[in-house]
Chain length 388, copies 2
């Protein structure tokens, strides 16, 4: 019996650009990305996929993209018409959409050194990212996230996926994008609810990593509520930076059992499902933050004064702290509609021992491997009482 031990590291890098008006002729960013990588190539191919929600708000986008690429003098070939596909969480349930994108990659002869650009919200970026990741074992994928949530959180990370068997992200991979471009002009058309809900992920990362960022958000609630773009750009930039730092210094492909950026997410995912996705991901995350912060307080980890600050910030930003789905069959641990099932689903998706991030102070998270179900119930009742 003999053994050879294989061991190697793979280096990954990608830029996250912050800009405005990415497809305006005078914006050189995309031109620069492509021309910097022509080595040996006569031309590069690009295939563009657009979220139909974005296309509706920016009806000329389609044409702007064609105009933008038409000035490249043949060094970049835009393949066919941009493909417009449905966005939102439901699009990730549709295996046919992934197949449609993969088929286009084949039809246009997009190779590993050509590009698929996706423009849209987080769910749609996950879907296109998955298709690009498995075609030819990985096409270059450029993400242009168009919501607060995707610009400051999922869109800058290394995951993609689609839903299967009724489970969120059951199929997916860890594959870094080739580049991310955050264009704040896309945020102008967001509904108020989407504008605000994306702030939940910024609060989340502030709570577990950066007390001064939490303070910044606290001090800028008026600007955020009045949709001041400079403030939102600042929040997105800093949140994306914390997210990128975390991936870099942590466990980017989640080979271990810990996933600290998922603070508040075990219940959030389940509540999205229990509400049939009628609440936004950010709204669900705000509920999850309220719940796990309250649980941290009830466990004697987080001082009451800090809990009050957290709940108060969420309320000021008009997040609900409680919805009835949190109490569904709360006493019946076996009931499939009991939110606490989310704990086991969360563990199963990540694998390994249950690992949940809680708070010991604003700006500092701490991981535990068990949650007390009675204390979760107590936290739910406390939030219910407050919300009356």
């Amino acid at each position: 019996m003999k053994t050879l031990q294989q061991s190697f590291s793979v280096a990954f890098q990608y830029p996250v650009h912050f800009t405005q008006g990415i497809f305006q002729q005078e914006n050189p960013l995309i031109r620069n990305i492509f021309s910097a990588n022509l080595n040996g190539y006569a031309k590069r191919k690009v295939f563009v996929v657009i979220d139909d929600g974005v296309q509706k708000c920016f009806p000329t986008l389609h044409q702007e993209i064609k105009n933008y690429f038409s000035t490249f003098n043949g060094s970049i070939e835009l393949c066919g018409e941009p493909l417009i596909i449905p966005g939102g969480e439901f699009s990730k349930n549709d295996n046919g959409l992934a197949r449609q994108i993969i088929k286009a990659i084949n039809d246009f002869g997009i190779d590993r050194h050509s590009y698929v650009i996706a423009i849209g919200g987080g769910a749609m970026l996950d879907l296109v990212g998955f298709a690009a990741a498995i075609a030819h074992r990985g096409i270059r994928h450029i993400r242009i996230p168009t919501t607060v949530l995707s610009q400051n959180d999922s869109g800058v990370g290394v995951k993609n996926g689609i839903n299967a068997f009724g489970k969120k992200n059951f199929l997916g991979t860890f594959v870094p994008p080739y580049a991310v471009i955050n264009d704040s002009q896309f945020l102008t058309s967001l509904h108020d609810r989407d504008w605000r809900s994306g702030i939940a992920e910024a609060i989340k990362v502030a709570l577990i990593k950066d007390a001064s960022f939490f303070k910044y958000i606290e001090e800028h609630t008026t600007q955020l509520l009045s949709r001041d773009m400079a403030t939102m750009e600042q929040v997105i930039y800093h949140c994306a930076e914390l997210h990128l730092n975390h991936i870099r210094s942590g466990d980017p492909f989640e080979l271990g059992t810990s996933r600290p950026l998922d603070f508040g997410h075990w219940s959030a995912h389940k509540l999205e499902q229990l509400t049939l996705y009628s609440i936004r991901h950010g709204e669900a995350v705000a509920l999850g933050i309220a719940l796990d912060s309250t649980y941290s307080y009830l466990s004697g980890m987080l001082p009451e004064r800090e809990l009050e600050k957290i709940l108060s910030l969420l309320k000021t930003l008009k997040f609900e702290l409680y919805i009835p789905e949190m109490s569904f069959h709360l006493e019946d641990e076996q009931h499939p509609l009991n939110m606490m099932n989310g704990l086991n689903e969360f563990r199963e998706h990540l694998g390994g021992v249950l690992t949940i991030m809680l708070l010991e102070q604003i700006g500092r998270g701490v991981e535990v491997h068990e949650m007390n179900l009675s204390k979760i119930r107590e936290a739910v009742r406390l939030l219910e009482a407050r919300s009356k």
Copy 2:
């Protein structure tokens, strides 16, 4: 306009074990693999998939596996019955098989820290590896390759995939296995053709990397032809070692345009397709080696004496140096059945500029970015003439 630059490395490791009789009760290998990784777990789940070709040759395997796991006292749970699926290249065309494996992963609640074991030939391992790689963004996957070819080449590497749109490995990922177990007992049942054809990949890696290994194979043709297991184990071990070293020191996830281990493969892939997979992958690789070695000689890179040694070794090991499919429509560059189309398909799969490995001496490959079509024709005719 601002930019954040993301940059990180991910470390991967996995063992390649060489053993005999992996599911005999007294073999502790699998028991050790699992018990070393129980940390915090009451038990681990294991789901086993078997190539039907292997099951036919080892009809008691199924039962041996159940017996083996039954002695684990509950620390390892074998999920359901081992799933038996068709092997061979055609199985990779069947998207339904990947879905069937993914569905079983879901049904059995296999999480990222549980295991899928695949026992079979290279094609079947590629298929199961792909399913395991995308379920939950990656289940732990243990490969037990059962052919010479998979034990010394594809089975020890980091790629998986299935075919789509008539293209080999159109869908796939780069994901290292959790462990590889090469059990030489599986080789005893191979047909002579499969036993021999696997040697082609060993000759390939010797030609581009290790002249002394080429010499070893030259000096042991009698033993190899008479199916001496100790010699074959030596060839497999050394070939796997060269393969692992190459991955480690090169570009494991093929982010660049070079793929030196694919010496002889541009025509091999195409010839497999043109013969409707009636020739073995190893036989196709032997043809590709003969062709690109002859081309290297005709280009003045490889001395004639060395070409003679290569062709003579291939002949001694009973490989064909020429098949009629190499000449189909050879003068008509536009014809879809012209083998030379393989050049462009090879480039498209890998992306970037065409990069082909040729030889300047036995044991030393050299990459070129262009092949002269007339010289390829000349090489084909030279091999045709020799084979008469």
